[in-house]
Amino acid sequence: MGVTCVSQMPVAEGKSVQQTVELLTRKLEVLGAEKQGTFCVDCETYHTAASTLGSQGQTGKLMYVMHNSEYPLSCFALFENGPCLIADTNFDVLMVKLKGFFQSAKASKIETRGTRYQYCDFLVKVGTVTMGPSARGISVEVEYGPCVVASDCWSLLLEFLQSFLGSHTPGAPAVFGNRHDVVYGPADTMVQYMELFNKIRKQQQVPVAGIR
């Protein structure tokens, strides 16, 4: 477990999502990365039930329940800017029981699937973000294994990202923050994914060329 940076790769002009992904993976393969199966991150949105809201004008907070194939036995529940709960996969069953408090937003399921590449100490995951039947964008996750302190290896990560993302290299993720010598954890990765998914959801009205 190391430090992870999740970013969005814009779809190249005049190409479909699929083609852009292929372009990226080819780049990685050329670099010498080894293909290591697939990965999947999914996210479901819940909003607090109207009955539990106290007074008018108070808007319900959104809760995101996420799974990551990298952590196959865990389930993550996050609030925006709020706490992150890590639990067993049995948490999903619990959510069904909590229908009275949290209601699943309709057609809110968003997920990213793709291939997992190992390149020395780096773990690269390039995935297609889909919401319902439609592909919405491309996610790129890069993990640097040997380090757990984000500020110590961010420049290394940046350099690696530049090598295959070129001009689309993202800035430092917000979760890295100003914290020094704070141990990076799985929850931070999930927060990055949540932010990415929210960003893509907002973009949905913008027509993306070449939707499958």
Binding site: E70, L73, S74, I86, A87, D88, N90
Partner: protein, 824 residues
């Protein structure tokens, strides 16, 4: 102050009277108790009497504050009563207390007046007056008015001996001359049987005439002699008073009283009395007899008598009673003895014929049993403990009936027997051994089959218990072996494991063979014979055999816990880390590492490797220690080891210089495949399992130790170290490690000693002398000045073997001290 309780049916008469009089000696008051002086119930000529039944009732309380007129307290009371009741005379008695103040009171003189007292004045003169201080308790008795015109307070009375005075309903006063009518009645005519809680009394019906007569007749003791006529008469007299109906008038009583008090006047008085009473009796007897005879007036009833004990000879009686009680005791004892013998015989019977059912019950306590058809089957497999071995492990319980009833029952006879499957009979064990590889592969698979004597059954545990335990052990050994052979086939290793017959052969290290074999000997003769021939148990590795059993049980536990144990719905029941893997977000690699499980064979091979490596290391160190004496080598083994790791501390020292030379301390961590050596300064060297490596390493360390020792010694002796090198790049090349060297100079700089020590070449010691001490040195043309002669000259080698001293460091010390300048 008379206080008298009169005699009644239930109570004896008590006289609790006090009398107070003026002490003639000092004129003070003398209070005495009447009963202390006299024991009768007589009274003086004058008395104020108040009689009551002693029962609670209504009283009148009067409070008086002070005197208001000429009349005294009692007179006022009398007048008040008189005013209320008029002509009716009312008597009153009780107590009053004078709480405060003084009282003028009179006390009669001890003697009555000799002359008549005609006026009050005379009376007052005769009386003595005293002033008395409060508090005073007074007991007044008075009557509201005189029933007759004249009278005084004093009422002389002759009290009857028995009977109770009624409350002063009627009071009489007499002047002492005239007789006054006094009515006296019995306290109660009927005897009180019981007093109810509400105070009502139930009375006994008065006895009828005949009953009363019978009772009285019963009281008469006819056996008494005739000399007690008088007493009898008195008794009869007393009895007569008990007759309720007997109208004994007051006059009669008075008369009798007079008679009683009369002294005997003439000598024939007693004779007359006796004669009179005899006559009376005779008359009475005659009357009675005539009445009885006529049967007109009275019939005789049999008198119910208290059954007097039959008058027997007291001795015979004693004997009889003793005999009777003894017989009773004997009977009890006999009954107890009978019961005891019965229980003893029952016990013996139970012991002899332990019946089948009780044995079955005991069997049931230890083994699983079930009934199939008309058979009782048991289960000796470890399936319930988590075993997955497919052997059914069933035994059958049978009744042991082949017993000759006529013959004596053998001691170890058991009515219950178990029949175990034939393949589980006998005894079995797993044998693990490590051998140097046998050159001949042909004899593989012939494993020593020797029979261990069956473990003797514990005293008290039945025959079938040992039998079943042995069978269970065979089953477990078979399971272990089956598991091992399955793994041996599955696991891919560089040198494949060989499974032949009942043996598994593996090669943990080259030229080394680990063999695990299942030795199962049935009870037939052939194998026993075979066993006696070949018995070489010295190459057993009992530790590994034991560990195999532990491992299979752990394996059982794992399967049991993962499959069968109840677990919470939220998490799998298993390892704690496994449970936490979800909430702590373990990634794939971590979960994989948790799930990887080694097989039985892999574990046991690892353990065997470790054991082998450890024993070989110990042997290497020991052989070095015994071979090389000069630097000594010591090994301290730790007592507690892991199955895969143990450690030893190796110290290299010189004898006699342990305190100075402590440079070499090594910690050897012996693992499964390799030995890690941790130096004192933290250097870590990893050695392989080859023993030569360890030996070479230790040799080089020992040679370095010598040079280190010289350095330490120089420090102590005050010599200067000129140069020091652990690894010298000059001189002959050593086959093992490197030579090390040191050069030290004497304190004044004249001499220098150079030491070179190699693990193989040994030590070489050279001494450098000042030039002026070298005679054979040719005169140099360059160094003319004498001052140059103080320079050190060439080296000369010391014949180290010829040096005195028991070891290297000691020799060096001698050499140094020889070369040091004499301080004198």
């Amino acid at each position: 102050m008379p206080v008298i309780q009169t005699e009644s049916e239930y109570k004896p008469p008590v006289n609790g009277s006090y009398f107070a009089h003026v002490n003639s000696a000092d004129g003070g008051c003398l209070l005495e108790k009447y009963s202390e002086k006299r024991h009768d119930f007589e009274c003086a000529l004058l008395a104020n009497l108040f009689a009551s039944e002693g029962q609670p009732g209504k009283v009148i309380e009067v409070k008086a504050k002070r005197r208001t007129g000429p009349l005294n307290f009692v007179t006022c009371m009398r007048q008040t009563l008189e005013k209320h009741y008029g002509n009716k005379p009312i008597g009153m008695g009780g107590t009053f207390i004078i709480q405060k103040g003084k009282v003028k009171s009179h006390i009669m003189p001890a003697e009555f007046s000799s002359c008549p007292l005609n006026s009050d004045e005379d009376v007052n003169k005769w009386l003595h007056f005293y002033e008395m201080k409060a508090p005073l308790v007074c007991l007044p008795v008075f009557v509201s008015r005189d029933p007759v015109t004249t009278g005084g307070l004093f009422v002389p009375l002759f009290l009857p001996r028995a009977g109770v005075l009624s409350p002063l309903a009627d009071a009489a006063s007499m002047s002492g001359v005239r007789a006054v009518r006094i009515s006296i009645e019995s306290a109660c005519e009927k005897q009180v049987q019981e007093v109810g809680l509400d105070g009502t009394e139930t009375y006994l019906q008065p006895l009828s005439m005949s009953q009363n007569l019978a009772r009285l007749a019963q009281r008469i003791d006819f056996s008494q002699g005739s000399g007690s006529e008088e007493e009898e008469a008195a008794g009869a007299e007393g009895d007569a008073q008990d007759w309720p109906g007997a109208g004994s008038s007051a006059d009669q009583d008075d008369e009798e009283g007079l008679v009683k008090f009369q002294p005997s006047l003439w000598p024939w008085d007693s004779v007359r009395n006796n004669l009179r009473s005899a006559l009376t009796e005779m008359c009475v007897l005659y009357d009675v007899l005539s009445i009885v005879r006529d049967k007109k007036f009275m019939t005789l009833d049999p008198v119910s008598q208290d059954a007097l004990p039959p008058k027997q000879n007291p001795q015979t009686l004693q004997l009889m009673s003793k005999k009777k009680s003894l017989a009773g005791a004997a009977q009890i004892l006999l009954k107890g003895a009978e019961r005891l013998t019965k229980s003893v015989t029952e016990n013996q019977e139970n012991k002899l014929q332990r019946d089948f059912n009780s044995e079955l019950l005991r069997l049931r306590q230890h083994w699983k049993l079930r009934k199939v058809g008309d058979k009782i089957l048991g289960d000796l497999s470890y399936r319930s403990a988590g075993s997955l071995f497919p052997h059914h492990g069933t035994f059958e319980v049978i009744k042991n009936t082949d017993l000759d009833l006529d013959k004596k029952i053998p001691e170890d006879y058991c009515p219950l027997d178990v029949q175990i499957p034939s393949d589980l009979e006998g005894s079995a064990y797993i044998k693990v051994s490590i051998q140097k590889q046998s050159p001949d592969i042909g004899d593989l698979g012939t494993v020593n089959l020797f029979k261990r004597s069956l473990p003797k059954s514990k005293p008290g545990s039945p025959h079938w218990q040992t039998k079943l335990e042995a069978a269970q052990n065979v089953l477990l050994c078979k399971e272990i072996f089956a598991q091992l052979s399955r793994e041996a086939v599955q696991i891919k290793s560089q040198i494949p494991h060989i499974v032949v017959k009942n043996q598994i052969i593996s090669q943990p290290f080259p030229n080394l063979q680990l063999s695990i074999s299942l030795c199962h000997s049935s009870n037939d003769k052939k194998s026993q014979k075979f066993a006696t021939e070949k018995q070489s148990p010295e190459d057993h590795l009992y530790v590994l055999e034991h560990n195999l059993h532990l491992l299979i049980r752990e394996f059982h536990k794992q399967t049991l816990s993962s499959i069968m144990m109840p677990h919470p719905a939220s998490a799998p029941f298993g390892h704690k880390r496994m449970r936490l893997s979800g909430p702590q977000a373990f990634d794939k690699n971590e979960i994989n590492s948790l799930q990887s499980s080694e097989g039985l064979l892999e574990k046991i091979i690892k353990q065997a490797k470790h054991i082998f490596l450890r024993s070989r290391t110990a042997a290497t160190i020991d052989s070095l220690a015994s071979r090389i004496e000069d630097p000594q080598i010591q090994a301290h083994w730790s007592n507690i080891n892991d199955v895969y790791e143990s450690s030893v501390k190796v110290l290299i020292t010189s004898q006699g210089y342990e305190q100075i030379c402590k440079s070499i301390q090594l910690q050897l961590n012996i693992g499964v495949e390799q030995i890690r050596v941790v130096h004192r300064d933290g250097r870590v060297i990893t050695l392989s399992y080859q023993e030569q490596e360890l030996q070479d390493f230790l040799l080089s360390q020992m040679s370095q130790h010598q040079v280190h020792a010289v350095q330490q010694l120089a420090k102590v002796m005050g010599w200067q170290v000129l140069s020091f090198s652990n690894h010298v790049g000059l001189g002959p090349i050593e086959s093992i490690g490197n030579a090390s060297a040191i050069t030290v100079a004497s304190p004044n700089g004249d001499y220098a000693i150079s030491v070179r020590n190699g693990p193989e070449s040994g030590s070489k010691i050279m001494v450098q002398f000042p030039r002026n001490q070298c005679k054979d040195l040719p005169k140099s043309d360059v160094l003319q000045d004498t001052k140059w002669s103080h320079l050190r000259g060439p080296f000369k080698e010391v014949h180290w073997n010829k040096m005195e001293g028991r070891n290297f460091v000691y020799k060096m010390e001698l050499l140094m001290s020889a070369l040091s300048p004499c301080l004198l």
